[in-house]
Amino acid sequence: MNASSPRASTAALPETLFAVPAMRCAACISKLENGLPHTPGIAAARVNFTAKRIAISHLPETKIPDIQRAIAALGFESQPLGDELAGIADDSSRELLKAMAVAGFAMMNIMLLSVSVWSGASGGTRDLFHWLSALIALPTVAYSGRPFFRSAWSALRNRRTNMDVPISIGVVLTTALSLFETFIGGAHAYFDGAVMLLFFLLTGRWLDSVMRDRARDGVSALLKHKAAGALVLSEDARSEWVLADALKPGMIMLVAAGERLAADGIITKGRSHFDLSLLTGESAPATMMVGDPVHAGTLNIDAPVEIRITAAGASTVLADIARLMEDAGQSKSRYVRIADRAARYYAPAVHMLALLSFAGWMLAGAGWHQSLLIAVAVLIITCPCALGLAVPAAQIVAAGALMKKGILVKDGSALERLAEVDRALFDKTGTLTIGRPELVNADALSAADKPFVLALARASRHPLSQAIRRALEAEGTVAADTENIREIVGHGIEAQHYAERMQLQRPDPADAGASLAVQFSRADAPVVILKFEDALRADAEATLRALKALGIDSSIASGDRAEAVQPVARALALTAQTAMRPQDKLDAISRLAAAGHKVLMIGDGLNDGPALAAGHASLAPASASDAGQNAADAVFMGDSLAPVATAVRAARATQRIVKQNFVLAIGYNAIAVPLAIMGLVTPLIAALAMSSSSIIVVANALRLKGAAR
């Protein structure tokens, strides 16, 4: 699509897609599109604002980090999007939209002709109008009916039946019979009914598919990728950027402070802290030195290191977890959506009714022609027009309301499963807590010290330094001028102010206790210990209470140490299991499932990925790893935990409306079917009944607009 736009006339150049979630205004578009081509190596940039993406065509030798730097220079954070994400265009939605447009066009024209037949056209005129209708309807049914025919055929081949089987039979039979009626110059043709049925059903399908696309776009724009590649040291001591999937065991990669590893390996040079929270959920960084194994996806915090790769691509620990996740996700794919469950009873009932009325009228001596006509009328009238809209209409309205509240639901089945949960498991780090340490005792510093502490903290990328910087900058502290700031790896930062030396460093273990701490010392003053805690998310307590009120018991399942989990568990009055590996979390979920619970898993880390996939439903915060976001049914934004309860409430409201819609749709059948069986239904009545029931169902679904309060 981008290639055909007038700006991108440079089709021969490679094109890379980046997610730029921060673009919010017209100025951002023009800044990116006009600014980027000034960078050497970039030929053109085209923004897709709806998907928050930018397509950049560049010279083959321009590498991804260069482009990211160019985007960063314009003030935007960006993430390269892998092919598997960029490749999925909204093909199925587009296909459905086309089919719907054709059906809509045909429906209106046939209706125009039908109205004149109903208002009394007779003889030659009526036959002419029927022929014209047939001319329009036949290609339409052939084109717009394909999605249903295809699905019905594949269901029948597997000896199952679904909603599409009665639809397909109804449409084909109706069209055939109407064609026959037209041939013999009969009074009634049902072309309008057949095409209208297709149109309403396609509308439902299309809504369903649009919802899935929209959520997927949102999630993929949020995705934070693991390192897309690494700088590799070649034999002649030059460094070269190599993409992650081209990395091989034995290569030496250079990892700067603040970068994520792209492969598993062993440190051969240097010593640094690594943030392992993605893999283990442990919040405190771990010190790693020469000879220690490190894993893909972990973050190198404070010093450059050289790493000899031992495993890359599909053999990393990261990939192992991904496989575990894939297996766990299969239970979810066995879930049967409510519409299909309804169809399981509905479809045979419809066929039976139509067959019975045919047989009944035959026995009553009506002749096969009239009997068939009545059977078709029954089939058409019972065809689940409103039923087809009942579910997607409600779900898309609810998903829209949730999206406005910052909750992206991936598809309709996620909403259905979310409504059924009765037990919640929370991960700790990054889920109940914000996932980054926060300074808790800024008051311990005197006003005179603060500017110096800020100056020191600013110089480091260590998470604790960053926490100090955030806390002090939020207070309005201005950094002091210091000299000779240097970071001593694994130890701290020191600087000079005139003759005075000051240090920000790790404290003696005796002073600090178990919690995270840093000490600040200057020449003659007493040492100040700064303490950190991974703060609880806002509303955590209220959310848990709300879940309880909804009949959902919660507990903690954490990969972290018991001492780290205990304060959180106590503050929230929850039971907790600690030091769990991904496999342990899976087992915990299957134990609960075996006890008859439907488990809602809320987690963020890669180590939660398998559990998120295995839970009956799952939620992840937007700060989660990409594996977590991919595995979860819904992603919520912001620092509050409240969306968890909101999502469950909205899902239950949706389920209520869906059930009401079913009752409405079936209630309409209860009135219309006897009429049809008695042979009183003309095409006019069929058309009216069908459209009015559809409209009522959609109107009922619109009540969900305020569902996400």
Binding site: S5, A26, F49, T50, K98, F105, N109
Partner: protein
């Protein structure tokens, strides 16, 4: 009655024109970036001021 012989083809033809226009615009990416299109109108398009 001969009026109908003209009017019906005209009505159908117009409808088909609309359908064709919709397909064309779908194929040419008119619906790819609806929010972006609403904002692009606000961009001052005098890009000639590049340095």
């Amino acid at each position: 009655m001969t009026g109908i012989a003209f009017l019906i083809p005209i009505a159908l033809g117009l409808g088909l024109c609309g359908l064709a226009a919709f397909f064309w615009s779908l194929k040419n990416g008119q619906f790819d970036d609806l929010d972006g299109a609403a904002l692009r109108i606000l961009i001052e398009d005098e890009g000639a001021v590049d340095d």
